[in-house]
Symmetry: C2
Subunit: 330 residues, 2 copies
Amino acid sequence: MNQTDGTPVWFMRQAGRYLPEYLEARGSRDVLALSRDPEVVVEITLQPLRRFDADAAILFSDIMVPLAAAGVDVRIEPGVGPVVGDPFRAPDDLSRIGPFDSAEHAPYVSEAIRLLVKELPVPLIGFAGAPFTLASYLIEGGPSRDHRRTKRLMRDEPSFWVRLMDRLSEMALSHLRSQVEAGAAAVQLFDSWAGALDPESYRRHALPWSRRILEGLADLDVPRIHFGVGTGELLPAMREAGAEVVGVDWRVPLDVAWERIGDGGAIQGNLDPTACLGSWEACEREALAVLERAGGRPGHIFNLGHGVLPETPPDNLARLVDLVHERTAR
Amino acid sequence: MNQTDGTPVWFMRQAGRYLPEYLEARGSRDVLALSRDPEVVVEITLQPLRRFDADAAILFSDIMVPLAAAGVDVRIEPGVGPVVGDPFRAPDDLSRIGPFDSAEHAPYVSEAIRLLVKELPVPLIGFAGAPFTLASYLIEGGPSRDHRRTKRLMRDEPSFWVRLMDRLSEMALSHLRSQVEAGAAAVQLFDSWAGALDPESYRRHALPWSRRILEGLADLDVPRIHFGVGTGELLPAMREAGAEVVGVDWRVPLDVAWERIGDGGAIQGNLDPTACLGSWEACEREALAVLERAGGRPGHIFNLGHGVLPETPPDNLARLVDLVHERTAR
């Protein structure tokens, strides 16, 4: 993170659909196509920083980029999310994931990062999807309310599950290492749907592979952020996986989350993104409640509890950045 | 609950689509139409009890029944959930909720209950939707991933919100009272989506109305169950609202949930419904883990952490009932 005087702040999906300039840059292309065009990635990644003084940029990309680069039939539908053309249901489906070495199969990502770090006044955060979340998209075929096929498969077909998770963790590790080598100053592992698991199932069926990724980055000496939604009960495990920073959504009060993570950890979050949709007064009130729970402790990175929603007025985020900086200036 | 020797067990949505005899009884009618036909309600409510020795029956109905009876344009789409034809967006929309007195406007519910209690060998649980969850359906127009319009409205339009919540809590109270008067031996207040709120917002914007309902039932002297999904951080508040029993999903380990609720409370849950989708071995393993965390404490009602999924093999539930009874026999 940037060395600011107070609490640093950035927003998940700060480069995105709530910005009219993003919609213009996007045109009719989908996120995966945009992600393969380094110049447009640079432009979109920089857009929010022209509007507010965030303390970090997050690479514009998508967690499905490596799978798409490895030949999986996936597209990102606006307002829906990743959709996999032919969902994975049997071990043979694994053969549809081709080879993936990030430098070779997704060179446009490193290229965009190299261009970005030349222009950026703040650190760049790279990211990848965690194996459980990626497995859910592959198996369900898209976003899922209950991940029912994924969970059934993980319980009843352990050898298929292990092979899939092995593969997905290798891909994520390659992808994150090459992002850091190209200049990313921190990484975030997005396990968006891990919160659908009870803690025992998380430890058995997801954690080992997230740990493999996070520990595989240890020698690169960059902060590792581990994030999921609805993970109140998983926080100790997510920290143990090898993360300096654990990201939390708004469901857990920040001070409660911090207790669960332990004092040595840093914490990222956790304003409800819906609090930014309406009046500034409501947004400010909720943001101050987050700051109060953080209590000025070092190691708090202010963020939303999930990505910026498309209907968010950009001015609310600009005022929010200023509010956090003003209230936490030391 | 029934006076069994061991831990009582029933399943949310135990009368439902996973049973072929339910699909046959349903024909092409939707859930709301079925709910208005006492004879079919009796048949469907009894169906699971012919397959396994559950310790309670739950009335076959839907949380949207009172709103439909009050003239709101709502339908239940299979695989989707409640869909409101013309979502509520402005205070004037409140006029579209007509009068609702359960005995007068939904007499078929009491009628079905009177018929049922004559036939049932076990207690019948009545239910209603809690105001926050109902408000979300009315405002979003259907199931929602993030309840963004609902939360914006609750924060920015307090007078509209209060009027809507007042109205919904009056309806739920009338509906639950008349169910108990007709013979229901316990009630469950379903606040399925309360877990989308952080604890402060829950206490400010949802809890007061759930409390009004639960406290309004106190004189009837029946157990009150208060249930939501993803409510790990809300459990103390949900108990304080006036519930003898708090229902929890699978995300919180049962013993952790019990600590949060406090020793005086009873707890219902909390097997992941997806654990019942595949092999009996997986289902058994996960169920035994729940029982172990319950530790044989009195006041545990075994249930799933959410409703039975449509792909569930009925035999898994039958074996589950026997397992719970065998393992907890005193």
